[in-house]
């Protein structure tokens, strides 16, 4: 380790003091300008004026610093709506385990919380504040697409930011000056460009431009250092390089992760040209180094090149797509002997599962009718029994299906728990879990779902257009009651882009999907089958 902890503490305290001075200076300048308009005569003449301006600036800057820098981790968590990981969710459980592993490899020097951001974007960030809290947040989108070694690499990278202390100064900077960009964004939205006439906006805008200077202090080098430390911890440079490669081609959360938090993230959410260039000015002004260069450094450690990584990723992608049709072609048909001692068939494995008299001891013959054997010896058929066994363990929940009034069954779907109705096949999902489910697209959709999705999308678009024409047209279907609070569920589209009709409860945060709607929504999001009306509008 090149630096002792005392060195790091000293250096970061110096930087944070500098931030405070900068803030003070900005407020001083602004107060002086504002106050001078109320003073007659040359303001420089009276010392009282300067004392007044300095005092006001000190008070405002102090309050600002205190309110934003001390509880910054809480603010970051609230802004991103980051949730603690759910221990009953498989993927989240892995995340918690990986976090524990990172604690082991760093020798438990510091307790770091971990959080999950319910968003389909792909990014991870670390924050630490003056109270001593530290948090690593990762989006559902990234979490669900990483393999275990890759997740370890990302968490190790973020943990190094926290442990080395550079995360603290970045968080303080982001929360001090992020306020301005939030104000500018909000006002810019509500007033639609007329905002420049308002003095508050002008003030915030000036502050924002001044605070851009801050990037001067946030060095690009720290990302290289964190990458190197992640490799030292996990001994796996390729996993991190693969992650960066994945991130470079994905939505990193531009527009979702608020501006001001960019410097906390593993890659800049806004893919800017400045970040991807090298040279003196880019080094000075940008907070993130070019991804390509980061990957080159990492791959040099493992002695492979970027193009090799590219071809591997392409091959994996191809294998994923090629896998599905060949599987279908290879789907074997089975003949089974009924209790009346008659051969029946041919059945596919799915149809076989529907036979009430099928047992592990049923005689069965696979594919081309060669060998006759007990059903449990055929692995695809044996899987049916395993599934049946697993089904018996299902437990009933306290919720009642809103349409058929039967108890909902707790079911594991894509690694998380949802409530399923055994009769109408509808699904009740907590709204926070929807991004999680949508992000996990490991199984391809069935053909039936694909066809249904296209039809439903077309139909819903037509209905939406009709609805817009006849204002106030009411649907004749009655609203369903919420399974928890019994208030009527609000019926609407998931979003104007993904037009799947769902029923939501605004009070309990529950969403009801009718049969196949969850799969349809997933298929739409995966393939970006958005409604045209939303785009044309």
């Amino acid at each position: 380790m090149p630096l002792t902890f005392i060195d790091i503490e000293r250096r970061k305290n110096w930087r944070i003091a500098l931030f405070f001075l900068l803030l003070l200076l900005m407020y001083f300048a602004v107060t002086a300008v504002l106050a001078s308009s109320f003073y007659f005569g040359p303001p420089s003449a009276s010392p009282r004026f300067w004392i007044f301006a300095a005092g006001t600036a000190l008070i405002i800057a102090g309050a600002h610093f205190w309110s934003s820098a001390v509880g910054a981790v809480g603010a970051v968590i609230r802004t991103l709506n980051a949730q603690p990981p759910d221990p009953r969710d498989d993927v989240h459980k892995t995340l918690m385990n990986v976090m524990q592993e990172i604690h082991v490899v760093t020798g438990n020097r510091r307790k770091i919380q971990c959080r999950v951001v319910p968003s389909l974007s792909m990014n991870a960030l670390a924050a630490a504040d003056l109270k001593g809290d530290a948090v690593i947040a990762i989006t559902e989108g990234l979490l669900s697409r990483l393999t275990r070694p890759q997740l370890e690499a990302v968490m190790a990278h973020e943990a190094h930011h926290v442990l080395s202390g550079d995360c603290l100064e970045a968080t303080v900077a982001a929360s001090l000056f992020g306020t301005f960009s939030a104000i500018v964004e909000k006002l810019g939205h509500t007033t639609r460009g007329r905002a420049f006439s308002s003095p508050a906006f002008l003030l915030a805008w000036v502050m924002l431009k001044l605070s851009n200077l801050l990037n001067l202090f946030i060095s690009r080098e720290r990302e290289y250092r964190a990458d190197a430390a992640a490799v030292r911890m996990t001994r796996n440079p390729i996993a991190l390089a693969e992650t960066l490669h994945l991130l470079s081609r994905s939505w990193r959360g531009a527009g979702f992760i608020g501006s001001g938090f960019e410097m906390l993230c593993i890659v800049n959410p806004l893919a800017t040209a400045l970040d991807e260039t090298e040279g003196f000015w880019a080094d000075l002004l940008s907070t993130h180094p070019p991804i390509r260069r980061r990957m080159n450094v990492l791959l040099a450690m493992a002695r492979v090149s970027v193009s090799e990584l590219d071809t591997k990723a392409a091959r994996r992608e191809k294998a994923k797509h090629a896998g599905t049709p060949s599987e279908k072609a290879a789907e074997t048909k089975f003949f089974a002997m009924s209790p009346q001692q008659q051969w029946q068939g041919p059945f596919t494995a799915a149809e076989l599962a529907g036979l009430p008299w099928l047992s592990p001891l049923t005689w069965i013959t696979g594919g081309d009718g060669q060998a006759v054997d007990r059903a449990w010896k055929e692995p695809p058929v044996n899987a049916i029994f395993a599934a049946r066994l697993a089904e018996k363990e299902k437990t009933l929940s306290n919720f009642i299906c809103p349409s058929c009034r039967q108890s909902l069954v707790i079911e594991s779907y894509k690694g998380t728990q949802i409530y399923l109705c055994r009769f109408c096949a509808g699904a009740l999902v907590e709204s926070v879990k929807i991004p999680r489910i949508l992000a996990r697209n490991d199984q391809p959709a069935a053909d039936r779902v694909k066809a249904l999705t296209r039809t439903a999308l077309k139909e819903n678009q037509a209905r939406f257009a009709e609805h817009k024409l006849k204002r106030g047209h009411k649907s004749s279907l009655p609203l369903l009651p919420c399974p928890r609070c019994k208030n009527p569920l609000f019926r609407g589209f998931y979003s104007l882009a993904y037009m799947i009709e769902i029923d939501r409860c605004g009070f309990c945060g529950l969403t009801w999907f009718d049969r196949d709607e969850l799969e349809m929504l997933q298929y739409m999001v995966e393939n970006r089958l958005a409604g045209e009306t939303a785009a044309a509008r």
Binding site: M1, D90, K93, T94, N97, V98, Q100, E101, V104, V105, T106, G107, N108, R148, E152, M233, R235, N236, P237, I238, M301, A302, R303, V304, E308, L309, T311, K312, P379, P380, N382, A383, F385, A386, A387, A390, S412
Partner: protein, 187 residues
Amino acid sequence: MAGWIVLAAVGVLLFWMIMIYNGLVSLRNDVQSSWKQIDVQLKRRHDLIPNLVSTVKGMMEFEQDTLEKVVSARAKAVSAANPQSKAEAENVLTQALGRLFAVMENYPALKSNQNVMHLQEELTSTENRISFARQLYNDLVANYLTRIQIFPNNLISSLLGFRREEYFTAEEAARAVPGVNLSLRGK
């Protein structure tokens, strides 16, 4: 006058020696506590194995000897008395577990079983923690050894009896460097 100078020199020397001594002591304590961390993680692994074995036993009829090996390796590791035999028994256990995981891949019924999946995740995590704890230990030992061997420190450390600490060596099977082994050259 000269007496004062000598006294000051002795004082500075003494202060410097105390500083070095304190630094070495804290490094040695770090090394020892990280050694204990490895033990904690090994204990965790021992606790998880009976659960896993009893869960998969019914579904893996043809692999009884693989399971037997895991169980007996665990028993040996738990009862091992001295560190040397303990390290050997743990290495055998690691290999037996690796074989079990490889065999489990062949059983789709196991892969669809929630309990097995959870146990497997826990064990994977524990294996990682063990290797991370060893890695931390080795890093700290390297740091400590450097500190007691570099020039002025080595006088003090040999004088005050700072012993060498031993590195934790990996089992033969795990010697391959993971980074290079994962090469993307279509292997």
